[in-house]
């Protein structure tokens, strides 16, 4: 979707303000919010693409005003409500919490070290043909789905070069909408500053793009 999250190339957001010796968390609620992500992920309540898409659907002004972990909380609430894991009445405290009929897996203390050290790769062990090879000139497609995609606006319609083939990964555009992995190749694609911004400097952007985002150029 052409959402507020797709920030690359925008002006007007002001200077980058870096905090010296920044702590990982500024408030206790941020610690709480952070810890819910791995717990709910392992619980199978969402995948990372659904998680991101729920943040992208935030009202734009709210997205810009809210801090990072507030985005997370918004996403958790949105997904858990949409999937019926919790009810609005339960969340508002107007109904007694009930146990769900189908028990979900729970991330327990003993599982934490292994989960942290292993994670969950989006790489898919699936033989899929690559449509492009290193050195190919390609064009990022000009498409504007209202659904989830990881093709940012600033590269759409631009001509770039395949720099590497990273192998086969699940496709976020389908994963975010319950339509399966649709495994395909992901490439590192370079775009010059001239192509992206009309500026003749030596600089490039390298971005990882799925096969279906690209066409021959």
């Amino acid at each position: 979707m052409n959402g507020i999250h797709d920030l690359g190339g925008m002006h007007g957001h002001g200077p980058v303000l870096a905090e010296v010796d920044e702590p990982y968390f500024h408030h206790e609620w941020e610690r709480r919010a952070f810890s819910l992500f791995p717990a709910l992920f392992v619980g199978g309540h969402f995948n990372v693409d659904e998680f991101r898409h729920a943040m992208e659907r935030m009202e734009p002004a709210h997205y810009l005003q809210a801090s990072y972990y507030e985005h997370w909380i918004h996403s958790f609430e949105t997904m858990l409500l949409e999937k019926g894991v919790i009810s609005a009445a339960e969340l508002q405290g107007t109904a007694e919490p009930t146990r769900n009929p189908v028990a979900a897996p729970v991330l327990t203390l003993d599982m934490v070290p292994l989960v942290v050290q292993t994670g969950a790769s989006a790489r898919v062990d699936h033989a899929v043909a690559a449509r492009f090879a290193v050195g190919d000139q390609i064009r990022a497609k000009n498409f504007n789905p209202t659904t989830h995609t990881r093709l940012p606006r600033y590269v759409r319609g631009k001509v770039g070069r395949i720099e590497a083939d990273h192998g086969v990964f699940a496709t976020p555009d389908t994963m975010a909408h319950g339509q399966g992995e649709q495994p395909q190749h992901v490439y590192s694609v370079s775009f010059t500053a001239l192509e992206l911004w009309g500026e003749a400097r030596a600089d490039k952007v390298y971005i990882d793009l799925w096969d279906s985002y690209l066409e021959e150029a």
């Binding site: 920030l7 690359g8 957001h13 905090e19 010296v20 934490v112 994670g119 990881r150 992206l196």
Partner: protein, 206 residues
Amino acid sequence: MNHEHDHDHTEPPEEIELRVKALESLLLEKGLVDPAALEALIDTYEHKIGPRNGARVVAKAWADPLYKRRLLENATAAIAELGVSGVQGEDMLVVENTADIHNVTVCTLCSCYPWPTLGLPPIWYKSAPYRSRIVIDPRGVLAEFGLTIAADKEVRVWDSSAELRYLVLPERPAGTDGWSEEQLAELVTRDSMIGTGLPKSPDDAP
């Protein structure tokens, strides 16, 4: 580049505090989360995982040419040799700064970041100013970090929009011949592995 906390638009925190408490309490009552696991996750990412991991990787690459080759060819495996792996670092790539290329990383669409090697990201990395500007005006942003890149050097911005996570391998500072990996690691800053900084010089070492 200091900033006051009140630029972060999140104060007063009461409403969000209550919101988080309500959600966490509900999930506990429904038996969907284990409170001991939540505490362990917080402790792990607040105290055990951070840029010292990445600094060990960089220092080893500086000291050991064979390790550096493995790191550039298969970063995930080479980083795992040091016992570093996992969530948001499942598929890693290391990009090397050279005399001709300066690398810098971003996630314009959200805030993807290599947690096992760098820890959780700082606020500025997740902020609209950094995500919007680093792709269109990398030299301007780097200058705000005190980094001026020569005009004949390429600035290569890596937008980690897919599931690969990036670590920058900075150039080894001059004047460090014969240094141990432990000594070298002291020179490696978080920002030098993001690309918004350079390693400390030997004169700044403790």
